[in-house]
């Protein structure tokens, strides 16, 4: 059974966003169980569960939790990264909207395990309704004594939770830029290890800081309630548990599906109702910044961290996009490049200048002014960005382009040689209209 509703167990229960309904369905049992354990025992549960960060990088969660100093010398901040901005990903939105208490509970558990003093939920600015929901949930949790002073009557267990709305920058979903933004600075990334201490040692306001994704905290709630060993029963050898995949694109039933890690990609596609409007052409399995895979390559991919990377792509944040054979990959990449150009914060040279250059070249190609050598140029620009930028946004801007050229080089060549789409008139996304031909159509 590939669908594995662990977090989504009660998603469809009426009014589950309300505390009483949530409690009636076993809510806050995880927290109640956690506080009966030693702090370290909770972290050990997470370790046993094999839970890995669900934001995209897949870093073992317990290492972060275990990294915070085990004392109360300084305030410890527990931060939830709810700045879900990866194109194709909308799993956190549903969790925040429907199961806000799952997140709140998970953060309190983390607060307990990591000696936290306060938590911040950094929600992307566009998520207004989810922010309302989470706000309501926090208020209810305070009223019920799950937040505030002496939680659950435990002397000295104090934890406060705040909501912070972002201002609409993709970059602020990057851990260190999120911290800058939270502190009121420009949303620029900060120095990372080994250039600066890890956030668990020195994060926001120079205090130990734990940053996890919404889904990670929700999974922590489940683990706290059902034990890590239970969670580890699901998934593969190294990718344990379930993952919510946001399926979109040319599929019959685009939606969030919580699947067991290790489910074959093609099976997920079947669950989502299969491809519409043609045959399967390509899949981006983990959000716009991971490499695109051809239909043929998709056959071999299982939806887990190892299988994806073995097949030259990443599970990422679970933004699964399927494309039928009417898709013009070059135009799709132009749109992707436009996104990264728009979202680059501008701090470092490769990302600031390179993302714009990539877009300009792709725009030129799809305007019918591609030149021989443009493909090599694109690959060169990407290699000059990848690994050279300040934060991972640069890498994320380069990977999809490199991936697309590797997988669909002939389509790029077709555009350059024939100055038109290999798909024809009804290509999706539609070929952009050339606005200023004099400037763009430099003679080849």
């Amino acid at each position: 059974m590939p669908i594995l509703n662990l977090l989504y167990e009660n998603r469809d229960v009426q009014n589950i966003e309300n505390l009483d309904v949530y409690e009636a369905h076993g809510g806050y049992q995880g927290l109640r169980r956690a506080v009966t354990l030693e702090r370290q025992a909770v972290i050990d549960e997470i370790k046993t569960s094999g839970l890995r960060g669900r934001g995209g990088a897949g870093f073992p969660t317990w290492i972060k939790w275990n990294g915070l100093p085990k004392n109360f010398d300084k305030p410890h901040y527990i931060i939830c990264n709810a700045d879900e901005g990866e194109p194709g990903t909308y799993k956190d939105r549903e969790l925040l909207l429907k199961l806000p208490h799952l997140l709140v509970e998970g953060m309190i558990v983390a607060g307990y395990a990591c000696c936290g003093t306060a938590g911040y939920i950094y929600i992307r600015g566009e998520y207004v309704e989810p922010a309302w929901q989470i706000r309501k949930a926090i208020d209810q949790a305070y009223k019920q004594g799950y937040l505030g002073k002496n939680i659950l009557g435990i002397e000295g267990f104090n934890f406060d939770l705040y909501v912070h709305m972002g201002a609409g920058s993709y970059e602020c979903g990057e851990e260190s830029a999120l911290m800058s933004s939270l502190m009121g600075e420009r949303g620029n990334p900060r120095l990372k290890f080994p250039h600066a201490p890890l956030p668990v040692i020195e994060g926001v306001w120079k205090s130990p800081t734990l940053v996890n994704n919404v889904e990670t905290y929700c999974a922590a709630t489940w683990i706290a309630k059902n034990s890590g060993a239970e969670y580890a029963k699901y998934g593969t050898e190294r990718s344990k548990g379930s993952k919510i995949i946001s399926v979109s694109g040319h599929v019959a039933k685009p939606a969030n599906y919580e699947i067991e890690l290790g489910t074959p990609l093609m099976e997920l596609l079947k669950i989502a109702g299969g491809i519409t409007g043609g045959k399967l052409k390509a899949v981006i399995p983990g959000g716009s910044s991971v490499q695109i895979r051809t239909a043929e390559q998709c056959e071999k991919i299982n939806m887990d961290y190892e299988s994806c990377s073995a097949n030259g792509t990443l599970l990422g944040s679970g933004g699964f996009m399927a494309f039928n054979d009417k898709t013009d990959i070059v135009v799709l990449m132009r749109r992707t490049a436009e996104f990264y150009m728009h979202e680059s914060c501008g701090k470092c040279t490769p990302c600031r200048e390179g993302t714009r250059w990539i877009y300009k070249v792709l725009d030129r190609i799809t305007s019918g002014a591609g030149r021989q050598g443009d493909i090599e140029l694109l690959l060169d620009i990407c290699s000059q960005i990848d690994g050279r930028s300040y934060c991972a946004l640069g890498d994320a801007a380069a990977w999809p382009i490199v991936g697309a050229i590797k997988a669909f080089r002939e389509e790029f060549e077709y555009w350059i040689t024939h100055k038109r789409s290999p798909i024809g008139e009804d290509a999706v996304p539609p070929v952009p209209v050339v606005v200023n031909p004099l400037l763009t159509l430099t003679p080849a």
Binding site: R186, L191, E343, C345, K347, P350, T355, T442
Partner: protein
């Protein structure tokens, strides 16, 4: 490669303290302090790593954005079986922020690093306009130089470049060319880290990102000139220097700024006889590498057409151009006739050598002690209040000391205007060493750069209530028992301030009692220092206030930390050289004190002083009693003025002598911390403009007393043999950074003075 490839700054090598680690750079093994930036370690090994955004004096937190200094790094890693292998980091690392660690192996010239640098430069150049032929930075541009040595030969970019209107006027001194900007964030970091006005920041994002001020207001800072020097391209430019010259056509002479007593080390850039710009020169003990805008931009007067080029004699109310022999003839005639009834005022802007001959002329030949450099107040005995108690005349601390203070009390001073470099040091103490700052002023200036901005407590007191304020603070310190055991008997003082409760002090000063108490608590630290400014120096109750401040430093155990720095370029030197009615060079007492400025002017006003000689003394602007100054100038039988231009004061003279500016003569200035620093002649505007020492020396010769000095070096040698304090000061010993002279003998024991 040349030193000024990027800035004039060498990476400031960290002091070798603490733990050392072994690293290897390009095969060179060396030991460096743990945690030092690899780019700085590479300098030790003589390995050149190119960079744009890195700057040793700016915070590293926001650096590493240009990606020019990427290097390959390997770290030793322990295998489970205990063996150690060298593991290469998967990504190249920015060496400007990478802390050196044990066993680190760095490659700066691997094929990959070479390729990465080319890539970064290609990226930087795709939007950089190639208008180098008309760019001020062309020829001394780090982007040009790095491209030459590390860049790609051509560009593959055929798209349209980013365009902005050229020459956006950021402020009255700085223009900004956004097309040229490479977003290194040096300027924005400078305004946040160093000058503290935080005026510049980034607007927008991605490729649209641009440096700007909030809401496009004017960039108002007292230190805006520094961003021009920091800018690694020609994006930030000086409005006064723009399009004036090519850098390779300029001659450079090292010098010292003459705008205030801080003595910033500068470089004069000139062409023929025109001073074109002033850049900072590194001196870690003084200005580090900063200048204030007054110093950087306030130099038009030097090459101004207004400069006097011949002596002028007033004949029947009309100016007549005369030659020097005629001028000397008239002057010597008057000096001889005056028979000792002569007075000399000025010397604060002259070199030590000028001043030494000035006083020699008056004391040895004209037999008069009527000499004073002070023009704006406090004409009492030579800062005796300070000297008697603490053993110095102006500053007890060095400039560099200030950044190590735990608490700083600034009183009666708009410090950023009076002592800009002291201001920067105090801000550094506050920002990087957590010092508490208390600022007490009588009025708050509208400005973006003030001590008040970062002071923990700002006390805006009623003018004249300084004593009430200090007594109130002392009262708090005593009643709250915050004072350390200093071994000084403070009973009398305690009794004296017992009635000065914060409430009473508050009523007198117009402040809140809490604020006074809070300020007092902040100052109960060691080391704590006090800087008293212009308002105190010229205060009618100068002595009482300085005594009260002295009590404050003594009771808090900060003996010697009371500073009343001079205000003009060579105020300290004029004092040292004895331009004072009551002391000869080196503060040697004189038998019979002469008249001070006030007395001389009063005597001149009733025609009792035959000859009044003003040397760079703007009496009508500076003297508090303008009416008296005017009367004195009108009624004195003969007034000689040595000046650069025909100032308001000079217009009232009978004879005006054209003097050389600091750019046209050699000599030494002594700054507020008693650091003697050399200035050098850069150019000559006219053969008929003479340095003051030459004028004095030629007058001496015509009075029949030949002096054997052919250059200011000769005079400095004479000073070092005749003035004990300057015994170690010789042209040779001064070097690039100058030399501080110290008072001989022990510091006096701490005492409490209660009137």
């Amino acid at each position: 490669m040349s030193d000024n490839r990027l800035t004039q700054t060498e990476a400031s090598l960290n002091r070798v303290t603490g733990q050392l680690v072994n690293i290897k750079i390009n095969g060179i093994e060396l030991q460096v302090p743990k945690g030092e930036s690899v780019i700085e370690s590479a300098k030790r090994a003589g390995v050149d790593i190119p960079f744009f955004c890195y700057h040793p004096r700016l915070s590293k937190g926001d650096a590493a954005n240009c990606r020019m200094c990427l290097v390959d790094v390997s770290m030793p890693r322990k295998n489970p079986d205990g063996s150690v292998i060298l593991a290469k980091m998967p990504k190249p690392q920015a060496s400007c922020t990478l802390p050196a660690d044990e066993g680190m192996v760095i490659e700066t010239e691997s094929a990959q690093v070479v390729r990465d640098r080319k890539g970064v430069l290609e990226f930087l150049l795709i939007n950089h306009p190639l208008d180098c032929p008309i760019c001020d930075r062309g020829g001394e541009c780090p982007l040009q130089n790095n491209t030459l040595f590390y860049g790609p030969p051509t560009s593959r970019y055929i798209e349209e470049k980013r365009h902005f209107p050229k020459a956006y006027p950021l402020s009255e001194n700085v223009v900004f060319d956004r097309e040229r900007c490479i977003h290194c964030a040096r300027c924005t970091r400078f305004t946040e880290d160093i000058s503290g006005d935080s005026q510049l920041g980034f607007l927008k994002r991605g490729a649209d990102m641009e440096v700007g001020t909030f809401a496009h207001t004017s960039y108002s800072s007292k230190f805006s000139g520094n961003v021009i020097e920091l800018c690694p391209v020609g994006a930030l430019l000086s409005r006064s220097y723009r399009f004036k010259a090519r850098p390779w056509d300029l001659h450079t002479q090292r010098s010292v700024c003459s705008k205030c007593s801080n003595g910033c080390n500068i470089k004069i850039d000139y062409r023929l006889d025109t001073l074109l710009r002033i850049n900072a020169r590194v001196n870690d003990a003084v200005n580090e590498e900063w200048t204030c805008d007054k110093g950087k931009f306030g130099h038009e007067y030097v090459s101004s057409p207004e400069r006097l080029k011949t002596p002028l004699l007033k004949v029947d109310g009309e100016w007549q151009e005369i030659d020097w022999s005629e001028a000397y003839r008239v002057l010597v005639e008057k000096l001889k006739a005056a028979n000792g009834s002569v007075g000399g005022i000025g010397g604060q802007r002259c070199t030590n050598e000028d001043n030494y001959l000035f006083q020699k002329l008056f004391r040895d030949v004209l037999k008069s002690n009527n000499l004073d450099h002070r023009t704006s107040g406090n004409f009492g005995a030579t800062n005796s209040t300070l000297y008697k108690r603490f053993g110095y005349h102006a500053m007890g601390n060095t400039i560099a000391d200030l950044e190590n203070m735990k608490a700083v009390f600034v009183i009666g001073s708009e410090l950023v205007d009076e002592q800009p470099i002291l201001f920067l040091r105090i801000r550094k103490a506050w920002r990087y060493n957590g010092a508490s700052v208390v600022n007490a002023v009588t009025s708050v200036q509208e400005s973006s750069t003030r001590v008040g901005d970062f002071a923990e407590v700002e006390l805006v007191y009623k003018p004249g209530s300084e004593l009430a304020l200090i007594n109130g603070m002392l009262n708090v310190l005593f009643t709250e028992n915050l004072l350390p055991e200093t071994g000084v008997d403070t009973k009398k003082l305690q009794a004296h301030v017992a009635s000065w409760t914060p409430e009473k002090s508050a009523a007198e000063t117009g402040l809140a009692a809490d604020a006074i108490a809070k300020a007092a608590r902040l100052l109960a630290k060691t080391p704590m220092t006090i800087i008293a400014g212009r308002e105190i120096a010229a205060h009618p109750h100068y002595e009482a206030i300085v005594n009260a401040l002295g009590n404050l430093v003594v009771v808090t155990g900060n003996m010697g930390n009371l500073n009343i720095p001079g205000l003009e370029a060579n105020t300290q030197g004029a004092m040292d050289m004895g331009i004072l009615p009551d002391s000869a060079p080196g503060y040697a007492p004189v038998e019979k004190a002469g008249m001070n400025t006030a007395q001389m002017l009063e005597a001149a006003a009733i025609g009792e002083l035959q000859v009044l000689w003003l040397v760079g003394a703007e009496l009508l602007e500076q003297y508090p009693d303008t009416a008296l100054a005017q009367k004195a100038l009108a009624n004195a039988p003969f007034v000689v003025v040595s000046e650069l231009t025909l100032t308001e004061t000079a217009k009232h003279a009978d004879l005006v002598l054209p003097s050389a500016s600091f750019a046209e003569k050699d000599g030494t200035f002594t700054n507020c911390e008693r650091r003697v620093q050399r200035i050098f002649k850069a150019f000559e505007i006219s053969q008929d403009i003479k340095p003051d020492w030459l004028i004095f020396s030629e007058v001496l010769a015509r009075l029949g007393v030949g002096v054997p000095y052919f250059s200011s070096r000769d005079i400095l040698r004479a000073i070092s043999t005749q003035v004990p304090a300057y015994a170690s000061i010789t042209p040779k010993s001064l070097g690039e950074a100058g030399l501080r002279w110290e008072y001989a003998g022990d510091q006096p024991a701490p005492t409490i003075v209660v009137e």
